[in-house]
Symmetry: D3
């Protein structure tokens, strides 16, 4: 049993609060244990240069942690004048994950912005951000549809993400910060609602691992993602 009483393949308590921001049509607040992230979606009337006059749109994400989202303050990136490598890596992952289930030709030559701001960080912020952003994204597309701007929700499938790690040889699902710090192997899986992989990132923090270990981690991740998918659907209702 884990320090917080969870089974090895058990996710933390999850709450998804849609419409969290009063005046933002596509927003939600996702809490996985003590990790808390605000996800908010908006759209702008322009696309990156490489898409000009293509008729297609783009989706991009930005991620940040509040300085005090962790017990030990981390410096504000705006004060330092640049986003850290970790930040850029995470926001690129969020964008890629959402683009993988989005029909970019479905909302004109515009750019969808997904903002993920971490209020409290206790491990798994990037995976919570992906899981929550998907909810905010569909809410936002519903809003565009209700306004008559688009006909259909341009989303192929749902997407969710979860972390898995090896701690003392055991495969643990949805690591909190303490577990993450002790993990020998640390992995993040992004999967669709019907169980396909979108992104696999596994890193040996302490000792290289075998293929079998990876298999075990994927299996555990699949269980977690399935649960997240159920919860996303419960919040979103029928949206296709």
């Amino acid at each position: 049993m884990r320090r917080d009483g969870r089974q090895e393949n058990e996710i933390r308590p999850l709450t998804i609060t849609p419409h969290y921001l009063a005046e933002v049509p596509g927003s939600c607040f996702i809490e996985m244990g003590r990790t808390k992230v605000i996800c908010a979606v908006s759209i702008e009337e322009q696309v990156p240069p490489f898409l000009k006059n293509s008729g297609g749109g783009w989706l991009t994400a930005e991620y940040a942690m509040l300085p005090m989202s962790t017990p030990r303050r981390n410096a504000r990136e705006s004060v330092q004048g640049r986003q850290k490598g970790r930040t850029l890596e995470i926001q690129r992952l969020i964008g890629r994950s959402l683009r993988a289930v989005t029909d970019l030709s479905g909302f004109g030559e515009r750019t969808v912005f997904v903002d993920c701001d971490v209020i409290q960080a206790d491990g798994g912020t990037r995976t919570a951000a992906i899981t929550g952003s998907f909810v905010a994204l569909v809410e936002f597309f519903k809003y565009l549809r209700d306004k008559g701007e688009i006909e259909n929700i341009p989303v192929f499938d749902s997407v969710a993400a979860i972390s898995v790690g090896i701690v003392d040889g055991a495969v643990l699902l949805d690591l909190d910060y303490c577990e993450d710090s002790e993990a020998e192997v640390d992995a993040n899986f992004v999967m669709t609602g019907n169980g396909k992989l979108i992104e696999v990132q596994a890193t040996a923090e302490r000792s290289p691992f075998g293929k079998k270990m990876l298999d075990g981690m994927i299996e555990t991740a699949e269980k977690g993602i399935a649960e997240l998918t159920v919860r996303q659907k419960a919040v979103l209702g029928v949206w296709k």
Copy 2:
């Protein structure tokens, strides 16, 4: 009567939630109408160069708005590589206001950081940030005292802030965003618990104003600050 049903000298519904962040001893969530700000306090073992070996400490504040805290997305400052002038101006004001009631020699040669992050912005974010930060600051000093790091709470008096504006010739207290956009004169007042002024900032947005008008605004502000002070005390209990 105002659009939202308030009297001219009535503040918006106010909620102050102390200990908002699980692992941050000095934090609170302040809501004034739809304006919502997280205030969090921390300390670091160093001071700015001009205080080295002075024995005294420092207090500084940082302020930011989430990109989607407003209905229309505002670009992330970390992505733009610099804080805007408005941001710097506000965080300087917050720092000055708190320093005016803090005994900087009361916590050693260390720097207190006050982080104010706006989750939702509907006018009056800087004043809410000051009012909330004071609560977070005292909570933080209580924590240091309980740990035995300091003997007394190094705070002379309480501090709170409120906006006042002239809209269609009438003096309105605690403007929301719409009222603020229409105001002919826009002012912010920072005052202590026993009614003294710490900072006055009044700006003619549309038409210059007379001294009498300023008097009316101060009077109205005094009423608002008095109410905020009561609420701060209710949350903090006896702290001196």
Copy 3:
């Protein structure tokens, strides 16, 4: 009596030299005691995005101090790669003050730039910059009118600014650097030629102050501004 022999409500010796820069139609050199600022006005054929196709124009200001304008060198902001918070705050104040008396629809969809560069700093640089910039601005508009680009000088009233402070309980007008460092309360007032307030900024540097004190400071400021206004008019002649 003050260290330099002035009465409490006496301004420092003032000189305003219009046309200071040979090839700049709107420029002046303002000296208030040892504080010396070059003010220069120019115009560009574009406006900020929010004014595009509005038909109206904009006015913006930039402020800087030479590294050696103070006895102790202050680092060059271009070398540091960013303007300091203080700088941004001051140049925003200058811009706001001038816009408050300028008809922005009076010179087409263009932007007026006001550059204030401090050659020597002995307190009151921001107020000198405002007072001097007004002269440079009107000179510039005269030039545009003489060229036939505009019909009338698009200025409603004159504007000037002065500092007032409380030192040892006394209200002093137009503080020099030493007085400013010792002030318990430090205030800047921006007023129109016919005695209305445009901006009030009062800060308790050491001890909070009562409303009566503020009244005293305003009264003293009014006297100072009236004198500055006379001097501006003497330089500008009839311009309306």
Copy 4:
């Protein structure tokens, strides 16, 4: 058969030239097909703050592409004033991969810098950079050992990396740029000389993929890494 005549599980022609830079003890030039990278290792007498007084060292990597390493010029990051997200992501991967096989306590409180500069880019620059950097790193440690600065080569195992992708449903090893652009799934594998995984990064560029597909990619990667390992050993000789 592939456009360039290779089998699906065949790597491109590989050349590793150690001691490529005349005066740099740990350097090599690695060419995999048309992808060419200079790897160079150096050391500095300091560590990041979190390691001060720990007795242990650090290893970090930097990566860049020459503007003309691709047929279409890509802007110089020094001119743009910041490294792109892709760059930071890659150099973090290189650093992590090398640290996973390096005994960081084996060279004192110092930092090893690994510089990877891409002269020509035709896909697989990050994997070539890892494979080549390992050679440069061991050469550098040999040099330190020969100078008597360290006793043993502080490296646990060798490390190499290869890309695998799914193109038209087929699993291809070591993609060139064209193949990479067409890939439905794109993956990079970092493995040790004795066949353990250090990092797995698999991304669905076009369509989500099943676990079986991932298995196939790992298997193919293993074959490629085994070949790279042989080549690294051939260049390095006996180094343990």
Copy 5:
């Protein structure tokens, strides 16, 4: 005789390898002794603002050193967020030198980019960059001509550059790094193929020098440039 056996007025062994980068029509690799530079030319469909609608084009250069091009690592400028003064100075010199022999009206309203990346630095990198860039530039224009984009090679004359220095009173041609560090006077000469001066830069590093000394340096430079010109012609063949 010099440390490396050269005569005082003898250049180092020179190799110019055109078409060094596989997919870049205008590129070369120039080696002067241990100094090695990749020069690559490309073109973009835009010009600086001051040339818009002028019908004429522009040519600009960028220069960088690999961090490990010198035995002692020099920090990567992209990591530091800005190009150093030395870098800007050199790339401005390269651009000026090439523009002096190029007919900027000969390739439409476009900008030619010249990238000079130093792989190994042993003195004289800026002069090698100029000499090599000229070859890459002509190769690039040949390519444009062969594609039918331009009719003639828009180049008036060839250009090459060499360093000369005074070491222990003797005039030395083409200094290597050691000689350069010891030089009392350090000069760079840029000249055309028919012996005219394009740029003279002579600096007293240790002791001021007389006009006669300058004459001696020019004479020596002329000899060196003549040799470089022959070598450029040998590589380029008939191009006019």
Copy 6:
């Protein structure tokens, strides 16, 4: 005769006002025709890393133009976040020129800062900056000597600078902005008081030039420098 009535080898009217800044011991205002520069010298108790514990000091210069020093406003570098290449090139030249006549071991392990701020620019700002800075530097050293901080003025010789150009085939001394824009060749010479060269920078703006032309330019420069030297001495009096 030239547009402004000068002979070809005649410098513009020159005024050097020492002690221009009230509280800066080493400052001067130099005016050459309409070009006006404030030069100010200060010292800091630190040296660049490469001089730590060397016992020797350093001298460095910074240069900037006021935005309105030219009829057409040039953007403020602090707003743009970086100094331009031209600026860096000029301030490096000023620093080098002054170091060439300064005994860096003569004022301890400290750094002398030379600030050159252009108030009005009409060609020749860099040469005026050098000529004026020398005066400010000696004034500053006198001040240090009078305070007893140094025993002797650590300056070997005087230094001054002048521009020379070829306009319509004629060699002109001390070009103003218009002449500079039309020059076929543009050169700057830095020389010592006893006629030795410190720096020669000659650039063919339009057409390459022969050695003879360079000889003519040097001769003309010598005449100009001799006059500047007389003027510097007149201001400085006996300082050795």
